[in-house]
Every structure is written in structure tokens, then in C-alpha cells.
């Protein structure tokens, strides 16, 4: 559905380009591998009057918000931002009346201007505007009234509006990531559940590291995290309530349970259970009750990831003799293998757009790749010693994963890469990191 819309938009844009080359609208293409990024100027946000707020002065915040917009846009790999250090500051009245005589001289093709104002009730009003420098036209605008503590979200929302308007894609910057923070020696890693914004800010540890914890997944509303804990040396899946900090076991079992996943509606949890050396995939309601067994092949059936409409599940199985990727209906019927590219395939994750499956491919090294849900069009996006466990951005255009370094250090770090494979970068985390899981766009 989305693909069709984009296709038509693409055709329309191509037509425009052919007939009116001089007046083409600004746009960026997420599938473009040319490296020809769009130059976009982002001066510090103006403030009508410098005021102190709970998050700092409006002056300082105006610059910090511009910096975040620059960082988000640069990280997407589609833009060449020109930040507040490289362009002149703007006055408050200029925000809605850009100096179109000045900006072409900076090389900018697009321009982001905004303002920040402290309100009498202690809140902030933040607005941002996107302009086409050549056409001297406003392209989009966004405004928010929010508590000072949420100022970073306004920056991400501005960046999202700019990204969405210029790429035609859905936004994704205003979202969060849960992951496992790691420290200590390789044979005794301390692992803690942690959360952060998609750019690494607002970092918070949720568990203290006394028990090994692995493989978190956010609930669709961000209120809960399901994960594996070795508490009491009994590896089971637990549900962590982000608001209260309390955790509870999902399903009592005499056997090890692991690899938990939420269904897209947040009502069910998919998990794997090992019984006597044989692992199968089960589904249980978040509220408890009788689990339903979905696979029963001899061998290891593990993991799983729902299609965004909840109708199908992609999972991993070694029933053929080695790890491969399979798709089944949500009730476990119609299981069929989709990976046939040679080597082993693991950790499949269905894109929130529905169009692709991300996976770890093991042929000597571990690499992150994507293919369609029927196993076609395989493309490998990374090439390192050990890249593992992809997780999708909310718009299905960027993938995070973790990279383990070779040797006795056991170092791991969280990285992201876009679908061209061209834009790869490391996320800043206070400790080592693994098992990232990217949540949906915040409302």
C-alpha cells in the first residue's frame, strides 16, 4: 500500500523533473546511493526574549535544539546539514520571514528556522519551519507546547517533520531504544537492562546487573519491556513495568523460556521454550493463561517476529540441518522456509512497513541483511567480524544491531545502518551495548 503510494509519488516527481527542471521541488531519496546529500541550513532557534526555564535559558536551548536537528538529519544519511556554528544567527521576526537573499550564498538548498518561547505557566512553546531556498517557499511547519524536560522531543519532532516532508517517508527520530548495557570481563559480563532515546540521550539503567538479562523488547505503548532474566539461576522471561519498576514472570514453567516478542497489538507474547533439548515457539497472552504451542518440529525453532498486521510470523529453525528463516501463519500453520542464499540465517525481524525481513547471515562472519518476506532480493548491509540481531526503526528505513569485537575483550557496541548500507554509525552508550530493540514512533 505504502509502496504504491510512493511509486506514484515517484512517477509524479519524475514527470515534474522532466518538464520543469529549474523549478523541481526539493526532495531526498532514501534509496539513493549516490552520496549527493541535500544541503540544509539549521541556524539556532530564535527566542523573543531570553528567559530562564527548568531546562536552561531559552537562548541555550535554541542552539541545542538546532544541534539535535542537525545530528538527526545527518544520521539519516540523506542530508548535509549546515549547523548553528556555520551560519549566522537569526532574529525572532525572521523566523516566518526568511532572508532569501542571504541563504543561497551559504550553499543551503533548504532552510530550517524556528523559535523557542518561555510561557508564563513554565512551559515552552517551540516552533520550526522548513523552507525551500530556491523557490522561496515554506514547505512545512511544526509547533509544540511542552514541559521544559521534554525539549529534546520537540527537536526530534522538528527533525521528523523535515525528514518526512523531504523524503516522503514516515518519521522515526522521536522514538526510544531498549538494550543491554554490558561491562566486565568476557567470561563474566555484567548485563543491565537500559533505555535511551533513539539518539542515545536520556539514558537510564533499569536493572542493577545482579542477574544476567538478555534480549529485551518494548511493548508497542512503551509501558512494558519483556526480556530474559537469569534471576535465581532460572532463565525465564519477565515483564518489566517501566512506570513502576516492577517485574513479573510471564508464564510459569519447569523449562527454560527465552526469546520473547510482543505481538503488534501488544496483547500476546511469543516466546521459545526448551524441553529436553528440543526448542519450540509458543504464544501466551500478556495477562497470562494457557500458552499455545505454534511449532512442533524436532529441532530448534526459536525467536520469531510478527508481520505488522499480526497475520504471520517469521522465525528461525534448524530443522533442515542448519539455522534458516521460515514464515508461518500466526496460528502456526503453513510453515515454509524462505532463506535459500547459502550459509546460515538467524534472528529474522519483520520490518514495521511489512516489505522486508532483516536477519543475521552467518557465512564465516556475521552480517546484517534484508530480504523480502518471500525470500527474494537478499542484500547484505554490513561487513564486520560479528554483527548480530537487527531491529528496525519505526519507519522501516534504518536498522540497529550490535557489533562484537574479536578477541578476549568481549567488547560490544550498538550501531545503525540505513537500507543503502552506506550510512553506518555507532550509537553513543555509556557502557558497551548489545541486543538493541527499537520501539515505535512516540505519539
Amino acid at each position: 500500500m505504502t509502496q504504491y503510494r510512493l511509486l506514484f509519488a515517484g512517477i509524479a516527481a519524475a514527470f515534474l523533473l522532466a518538464t520543469q527542471p529549474a523549478q523541481a521541488q526539493l526532495s531526498v531519496d532514501v534509496t539513493d546511493e549516490s552520496g549527493d546529500d541535500l544541503a540544509i541550513a539549521v541556524p539556532a532557534l530564535a527566542t523573543p526574549q531570553t528567559a530562564q526555564t527548568a531546562a536552561g535559558s531559552t537562548d541555550a536551548l535554541g542552539r541545542q535544539i538546532a544541534d539535535i536537528i542537525v545530528s538527526d538529519l545527518r544520521g539519516s544519511g540523506l542530508f548535509r546539514p549546515i549547523g548553528p556554528n556555520a551560519v549566522r544567527a537569526i532574529g525572532y521576526p525572521e523566523v516566518t520571514a526568511p532572508d532569501f537573499g542571504y541563504w543561497p550564498g551559504t550553499g543551503a538548498e533548504a532552510l530550517v528556522q524556528g523559535f523557542i518561547r518561555a510561557e508564563a505557566d513554565g512551559r515552552l512553546t517551540i516552533g520550526c519551519y522548513l523552507y525551500d531556498v530556491a523557490l522561496k517557499q515554506e514547505l512545512t511547519r511544526q509547533g509544540f507546547v511542552l514541559a521544559p524536560a521534554d525539549w529534546r522531543r520537540a527537536a526530534h519532532k522538528c527533525a521528523d517533520a523535515i525528514y518526512a516532508r523531504l523524503s516522503g517517508e514516515s518519521p522515526f527520530f522521536d522514538s526510544r531504544v531498549a538494550y543491554i548495557a554490558e561491562s566486565g570481563p568476557k567470561n563474566h559480563r555484567v548485563k543491565r537492562l537500559a533505555i535511551m532515546d533513539s539518539d542515545g540521550a536520556n539514558h537510564r539503567f533499569l536493572t542493577n546487573g545482579q542477574s544476567v538479562v538478555l534480549t529485551p523488547r518494548f511493548s508497542p505503548d512503551y509501558r512494558q519491556i519483556v526480556y530474559l532474566s537469569y534471576i535465581d539461576k532460572r532463565p525465564r522471561i519477565y515483564l518489566y513495568d517501566v512506570g513502576t519498576g516492577k517485574q513479573r514472570i510471564i508464564t510459569e514453567s519447569a523449562n527454560q523460556t527465552f526469546a520473547p516478542r510482543f505481538s503488534p497489538d501488544g496483547r500476546n507474547i511469543l516466546y521459545s521454550m526448551a524441553v529436553g533439548g528440543n526448542t519450540d515457539i509458543y504464544r501466551v497472552s500478556v495477562s497470562g493463561g494457557q500458552p499455545v504451542r505454534l511449532t512442533n518440529s524436532p529441532g530448534i525453532d526459536v525467536g520469531g517476529s510478527y508481520a505488522p498486521d499480526g497475520s504471520r510470523i517469521v522465525f528461525e529453525s534448524d530443522r533442515s540441518g542448519s539455522q534458516q528463516v521460515y514464515v508461518m501463519n500466526a496460528d502456526g500453520s503453513n510453515q515454509r522456509r524462505i532463506s535459500f542464499g547459502g550459509g546460515r540465517y538467524a534472528t529474522p525481524e519483520w520490518s514495521p512497513r511489512g516489505d522486508l525481513i532483516a536477519f543475521t547471515k552467518i557465512v564465516g562472519n556475521f552480517r546484517i541483511g534484508v530480504m523480502t518476506p518471500d525470500g527474494q532480493g537478499e542484500r547484505l548491509l554490513t561487513n564486520s567480524w560479528q554483527d548480530e540481531a537487527p531491529t528496525w526503526s519505526p519507519n522501516g528505513r534504518v536498522i540497529q544491531f550490535f557489533r562484537t569485537s574479536q578477541g578476549s575483550g568481549g567488547k560490544s557496541s550498538i550501531w545503525q545502518v540505513d537500507l543503502t548500507g552506506r550510512n553506518e554509525r555507532r550509537l553513543p552508550t555509556p557502557l558497551d551495548g548489545s541486543d538493541p530493540t527499537w520501539g515505535p514512533l512516540l505519539p
Binding site: 530474559l228 527454560q256 526448551a274 533439548g277 528440543n278 534448524d318 540441518g321 578477541g407
Partner: protein
């Protein structure tokens, strides 16, 4: 199915295993039981090893560990010799409960390794059960690749990490 054919192969080369079997980690193994266990674990009032203790177990068996080939969990002749000794000791102390840990090398994905570690722990458990040990005495836990014994990223280290460990409480 695959396991059967491999077992046959293992039996065929069994007689030459000390020289030719590529499966086992190289010379440094099996580690001497006294390396980590005996000195650190509780001993009697005068330093004597308490019968039925972890130290007694480590002193009495050739190894508390068996090792596996990449992505496999079959028990071969070498493993049988180790597990037979473990079973004999467990027969002598019928009240001792053990935990069998399954481990993997780092060259597998995390969740698959959790499943594979469970498979390896159960391979050891099933063999011990076949030697008359009550399965209710044997808990299993898989650590996947979370607790390597050797820290290197090389074939020798990986071979040492693909293991099932029989753990007697201290």
C-alpha cells in the same frame, strides 16, 4: 538422523581418538580437576576432602566437562568415558543433586545458542540417565554464549567453550 550418521563415524574413528579426533580441544584439555576446584572448595576440618562434595567429585572424575563439535550435541566415546565416571560417582552419592550447564562458542547467534546449550546439557543428562542416574537429580540450564571458559576468538578457545559441565553443589 544427522546425529546417527555422525555417531557411526565417531565409533569408527573411536580407537584412534587420542591422536586423530579433531573434535576435542587441544592438549591442555581436559584440565586437571585440581586447577580450579579442589583447592577452593570446602574441605573437611583438617583439609580432607568431604566425600560427596564438589571437591570429591572433581577429584574422582577425569573431567566435569564434555566437549562438542561446532553446532553439534552428540556424545562420542571420549564423552562416554567422562560421563561413565561421573555416573559411577553419582551412584555412590545418591542424595547429591547436580546441575548440568550447556554452553556454546561465540560464533552462534545469542538465542540459537541458548537453545543449542540446552540441547548439549540434555545430551549429557540423557546419557547419565541411561547409566542409571535418576533424571530428577539433574537440573539443566543453558548459558548459550554468555559464560565462555576460554576468552580468545580462535578455534582452540571455541572448542573449549562448546561444553556441558556437570556442577555439584559446593
Amino acid at each position: 538422523m544427522k546425529f546417527h550418521s555422525l555417531k557411526v563415524a565417531a565409533v569408527a574413528v573411536g580407537l584412534a581418538f587420542t591422536a586423530g579426533c579433531a573434535k576435542k580441544p587441544p592438549k591442555e584439555l581436559p584440565p586437571a580437576p585440581s586447577e580450579s576446584g579442589a583447592q577452593e572448595t570446602p574441605t573437611g576440618v583438617e583439609g580432607a576432602i568431604v566425600p560427596g562434595s564438589q571437591a570429591d567429585f572433581l577429584r574422582s572424575v577425569p573431567s566435569d566437562k564434555i566437549y562438542f563439535d561446532t553446532d553439534l550435541s552428540n556424545i562420542d566415546d571420549q564423552d562416554r568415558a567422562v560421563l561413565d565416571a561421573q555416573a559411577a560417582w553419582l551412584q555412590r552419592y545418591p542424595n547429591v543433586q547436580v546441575t548440568i550447564e550447556g554452553h556454546c562458542d561465540e560464533r552462534g547467534t545469542r538465542e540459537y545458542n541458548l537453545a543449542l546449550g540446552d540441547r548439549r546439557a540434555n545430551a549429557a543428562k540423557n546419557y547419565l540417565q541411561s547409566r542409571g542416574i535418576n533424571p530428577a537429580r539433574m537440573a539443566v540450564i543453558s548459558w548459550g554464549k554468555e559464560r565462555p571458559e576460554a576468552l580468545g576468538s580462535d578455534e582452540g578457545s571455541w572448542a573449549r567453550n562448546r561444553r556441558a559441565v556437570t556442577v555439584v553443589p559446593q
